[in-house]
């Protein structure tokens, strides 16, 4: 389906040609994208007012993170980096728990047990280390003959790391049920793509590992679904791993601790906004008669309500216990850490607990 024209950028919008679009699914996708954009804006404001820690915005990555959430099945595994808020939410993590995580509260990583998220890994802030873990999970799924795929994500900067190549290599040689998706948003903090690699595209890096590489327009939600449906299905059926390069543009700062205006041109950012994913999908839905201004207004109000509710739940949580840093790290605490935990409990006393 995609290998006939290797590394050509796969696109569907705005035409959605063929007329066989799954409109309910696209509407669901749009709603999730609008929700996460509303959430994202609020999260940044919470950080700016001292109510959240450093936060990584997913502005401009909505089609990628929502596409992943919709393409994954409950029996699959998701191994995120740190811009995958919508995927986590669609897998079953409540918005307030996502805020907890970014507020430095370990309880944000205790994903609800009755959801698909319970099999997923938490956010990974170190660059690319999650990819080796994903390869490990995929190895386990393969050895146990699970009909499941593992989807791991990373940014373009991560493709320069050894962990990336190692994971890609074992994915190829062991025929792992792994889909490795790079959100190529053009910027690794302040390092632009042309300083990151001499490779023609990031998808080309699949070549050396002997797996399929696909480039897709990361601002094009239907195209994202095409590619992820295909790659995940392939993995579930034991037909090997895929490297997906989703080309997008980071419309936000790297994190709330960054100021992108210091290293990139306003004109580039302005041009990128013309291709942003949320408005593009909305326009396609409106053009096809599947969305209108009234629905838009209602949905925006709904998003705001959901986000306000999540913020309130987050802010109303009782303070976390200092021992959470041990209790959320290990299933069984090693003896040495048990001692540290006991010492902390003792010294915390009535003071901080």
């Amino acid at each position: 389906m995609f290998s006939s024209t290797p590394y050509a950028l796969h696109r569907r919008l705005p035409a959605l040609e063929g007329g066989h679009a799954d409109w309910p699914r696209l509407i669901q996708a749009y709603q999730a994208m609008a929700t996460i954009r509303c959430f994202d804006k609020k999260a940044v404001n919470l950080q700016r007012t001292g109510q959240l820690g450093t936060y990584a915005s997913c502005l401009g990555a909505e089609a990628i993170t929502v596409g992943a959430g919709l393409a994954l099945q409950d029996s699959d595994y998701f191994v995120p980096y740190y811009r995958d808020h919508a995927t986590q939410h669609l897998r079953g993590v409540p918005l307030y728990q996502i805020l907890q995580y970014w507020g430095g509260d370990e309880r944000g990583n205790a994903f609800p047990a009755d959801t698909a998220a319970a099999r997923d890994l938490p956010n990974c802030v170190p660059i690319a280390s999650q990819l080796t873990q994903a390869a490990g999970i995929a190895t386990k799924a393969k050895l146990r003959h699970e009909p499941a795929a593992v989807l791991a994500t990373c940014g373009d900067g991560a493709t320069s790391r050894g962990d990336f190549y190692e994971s890609l290599n074992v994915a190829g040689v062991w025929q792992l049920p792994l889909v490795l998706m790079v959100n190529n948003n053009q910027w690794a903090i302040s390092v632009p793509g042309q300083l990151q690699t001499a490779s023609k595209t990031l998808a080309h890096k699949a070549e050396a590992a002997g797996i399929e590489g696909i480039r897709v327009d990361g601002n094009d939600l239907p195209a994202m679904l095409d590619v992820l449906d295909y790659a995940l299905d392939k993995a579930r059926h034991g037909k090997g791993a895929t490297l997906v390069e989703a080309v997008s543009y980071r419309l936000s700062d790297h994190t709330t601790a960054d100021d992108a205006s210091r290293y990139r041109k306003a004109s580039d950012l302005h041009a990128a906004w013309q291709r942003e994913p949320v408005a593009r999908l909305r326009q396609a839905l409106v053009d096809a008669g599947h969305w209108d201004a009234e629905q838009e207004k209602d949905w925006q109000a709904h998003c705001q309500q959901e986000v306000d509710k999540a913020v309130k739940t987050y802010l109303d949580q009782p303070p976390q216990s200092p021992t959470d840093m041990f209790d959320y790290l290990y299933a069984n605490l090693p003896v040495s850490l048990e001692k540290q935990r006991a010492a902390l409990t003792e010294s915390a006393g009535g003071h901080h607990a």
Binding site: R48, T49, D105, D259
Partner: protein, 366 residues
């Protein structure tokens, strides 16, 4: 009024410059409306309103430098009407009145043990406590040799015991003092054979110290070695060393220059009792302007007691002793009180110290 303070906008950035206010006093704002932009070392950041409200006061102006935790503005209304219930923000909290932490002078933190998991595992296997080791590796990291050496030492000479509580605090405070202070000691002795048998020696010493301070006020002072600044303190708050089975305590007897002897004796008895019962609050151990160690009740004539910053001097009184004296050509059994004075030569010079000591001795001889 509910305040809105400058949050940590980056990762540990402590200050920001106000670039521009977008609201003024009296304006009504809604949550997430932009209030102002500030510039940190990393970024220009727009700060939105944390809540709905009317701006009562702006505390900083365009171009001002502001630190995290300082107020940006106040909203009209009652305190506690929900400015921010801050969840994600770490606020430094001072350790208040914790009676288990007696700290004399400035004490630094304990650096964490640095080594590798394999060496930790080896140490655990050999029963070696890493926190008792001094690492010989790069940057003070603990090496395999350090652990092995400690293990063989332990085998031949037994285990060492880590200091706890008061003893630990003393060790740290003295180490810190030893690193900072430039000590000089003066010794002298004075005849006290004329003192009545029931003389309260401690009170007599306090009186003499006050007399010394009148002549040389600079001895009763705090010295800041980092800023090289000196604050001569009017009130004499005297730290008095008390030996207990648990270790050394230095409770502070306040305003000794302006209190009657009976009152001082009561105060002393109280402090001593509180110390012995381990009930003394931490604040009673802080803020001394000068110290007295009356070690002579136990033994020893002269000493070089340690000046604990920010104080600049400490007086030591030794055990009284007899020696032959001559008065009107007649030999007699004279009683001498030995006095030691250590001062910080960064803060005081020898002349000041000698004048203080002379006045102190004159009062004792009186």
């Amino acid at each position: 009024m509910p305040y809105f303070t400058l949050p940590d906008l980056g990762e540990g950035l402590q200050e920001a410059e106000v670039v521009e206010w977008l609201v003024k006093e009296g304006d009504t704002v809604k949550v997430d409306d932009l209030l102002l932009s500030v510039e940190t070392a990393k970024a220009i950041v727009d700060i939105p309103a944390p809540r709905d409200g009317t701006v009562a006061t702006l505390f900083v102006h365009n171009g001002d430098l502001i630190h995290t935790g300082e107020p940006l503005l106040a909203f009209e209304g009652e305190e506690g009407s929900g400015s921010q219930s801050v969840v994600g923000k770490l606020q430094s909290q001072e350790d208040t009145d914790n009676p288990d932490h007696f700290v004399v002078g400035a004490v630094g933190g304990t650096p964490a043990v640095q080594t590798t998991p394999a060496i930790r595992s080896l140490a655990s296997h050999l029963g070696v406590k890493l926190e008792q080791l001094r690492g010989s590796g790069p940057g003070g990291t603990i090496t395999i040799e350090d652990v092995q050496q400690q293990a063989s030492l332990k085998q031949s000479h037994g285990d060492s015991t880590p200091l706890k509580g008061v003893a630990r605090s003393m060790a740290k405070a003295m180490a810190s003092a030893g690193q900072q202070v430039v000590p000089v000691s003066l010794f002298d002795q004075v005849s006290v054979s004329h003192w009545p048998a029931d003389t309260d020696i401690t009170l007599r010493l306090i009186r003499a110290i006050v007399a010394g301070c009148r002549v040389e006020p600079a001895v009763n002072a705090w010295f800041d070695g980092d800023r090289l600044s000196m604050r001569i303190v009017e009130k004499v708050d005297l730290g008095i060393a008390v030996d207990t089975p648990d270790g050394l305590f230095v409770p502070v007897l306040r305003d000794v220059a302006n209190r009657e002897p009976d009152d001082l004796r009561d105060g002393l008895n109280h402090l001593r009792k509180d110390v012995e019962q381990r009930k003394i609050p931490a604040k009673e151990l802080q803020g001394a302007t000068l110290s007295l160690s009356n070690f002579g009740t136990l033994g020893g004539r002269f000493a070089t007691p340690v000046v604990v910053p920010p104080q600049v001097a400490i007086i030591g009184a030794g055990k009284r002793f007899t020696q032959p004296g001559i008065k009107d050509g007649e030999l007699f059994e004279d009683v001498q009180l030995p006095i030691s004075l250590t001062f910080d030569h960064r803060a005081l010079n020898g002349g000041q110290a000698a004048r203080f000591l002379a006045a102190l001795l004159a009062d004792l001889a009186d």
